[in-house]
């Protein structure tokens, strides 16, 4: 009886927690659906659409610093997407034109991938330089610690001593 009660209670608990979990899952799914950007843009060609999405991924939202404008729902990201769309569809602008437009207004910050210039040269080549330096140092160390392969020969005096100990010439 007690056992049965226990079981029933636990199954009740289980069903409660299962339904809670399901509710949570539904909530999360609906939340993430809302979090996604829902906007309607018309394009003249699939190529334009592809360009639109590509550019949106490359441009960083000035407001929410760790999102691209494709990800972000911030008002400024919406504006930037609208602007990108307008430039692509109305002006038939290429990628560079759109990116330059954004650079002129928001600076290097809008680019996820920094441009290569004097200030960012270390960013681009630093890792490579460090890697090469590391390999160089590794080889130097390996060389210094390499065990002597040549067995040191005994000089004449040692040989004579050894012979004496062993009691006769080693043949």
């Amino acid at each position: 009886m007690t056992l049965d009660f226990f079981f029933r209670r636990s199954s009740l608990l289980e069903s409660v927690s299962v339904s809670m979990l399901m509710g949570l899952a539904v909530l999360l799914v609906s939340l993430s659906a809302h979090a996604g950007v829902i906007e309607n843009y018309q394009f003249d060609s699939p190529r334009q659409q592809e360009q639109f999405f590509r550019l949106n991924e490359q441009l960083r939202c000035p407001q929410c610093q760790n999102q691209s404008i494709a990800d972000s729902n911030a008002p400024v990201a919406q504006d930037l997407r609208r602007q990108v769309h307008r430039m692509i569809v109305e002006e038939k602008a290429d990628d560079d034109t759109v990116i330059q437009f954004m650079l002129d207004r928001y600076g290097d910050f809008v680019l996820y991938k920094p441009r290569m210039d004097a200030r960012t040269i270390m960013l681009w080549f630093g890792p490579l330089i460090l890697l090469l330096l590391g390999i160089f140092i590794l080889f130097r160390i390996l060389k210094e610690h390499r065990p002597e392969t040549e067995v040191e020969g005994l000089d004449e005096q040692n040989k004579a001593e050894l012979d004496k100990i062993l009691g006769g010439k080693d043949k």
């Binding site: 407001q63 008002p75 400024v76 504006d79 930037l80 002129d104 207004r105 928001y106 600076g107």
Partner: protein, 180 residues
């Protein structure tokens, strides 16, 4: 191995630490440098808020030193900033508002309920002027010289500290130029 070589890893480590430390404080994460510094206010042609029949262009910003304040009635920080703008306006500083992505009714009510520190307000409903100005939120304040050139940009609330430290020295210098 020579002795000094033992210290190489430490030297690398310390160099790295210094670089990281510099990197940490190199940019203020909240403020992007404006690309428009020392450039003229971008072209625009927009309506005035209180006189909807009138159109203003960037020409209207020339001829005097002024603050161009980007605001919206939807923006809580603008409300915090508002009393200080009133103070500046009373001291005789020209402030022009850019009513950024706002509803006309809300904006008018705001100016009615609080006071109006602005010479006039430019209606930027779809945020295109804001985009051209590199605005990414409100409030933002630009210092414009008499040629209509942007001389400074402040992002966030303009308060006494910011005014005295960043804007006033520039403003005074421009004022001096104007007198001479």
């Amino acid at each position: 191995m020579k002795r000094w070589k033992l210290f190489l890893p430490l030297a690398f480590f310390l160099t790295f630490c210094v670089l990281l430390y510099i990197g940490l404080f190199m940019e203020d994460k909240n403020e992007l440098p404006s690309m428009l510094l020392d450039k003229p206010v971008p072209e625009f042609s927009l309506k005035k808020l209180q006189q909807p029949a009138e159109t203003v262009t960037e020409e209207a910003l020339k001829g005097r030193i002024l603050l161009l304040n980007v605001w919206g009635s939807w923006c809580p920080a603008c409300k915090v900033e508002h009393p200080y703008l009133m103070k500046l306006a009373r001291e005789g500083i020209n402030i022009v508002g850019v009513n950024y992505k706002d509803e006309r009714q809300g904006a008018l009510e705001w100016l009615d309920r609080l006071e109006d520190p602005y010479l006039f307000n430019i209606v930027d409903k779809d945020g295109r002027l804001g985009l051209d100005l590199g605005v990414y939120g409100a409030p933002e304040t630009f210092l414009i010289d008499k040629h209509g050139v942007i001389r400074y940009k402040h992002i966030g609330i303009l308060d006494d500290r910011v005014w005295k430290k960043d804007l006033k020295p520039l403003y005074d210098a421009l004022q001096k130029e104007l007198v001479q």
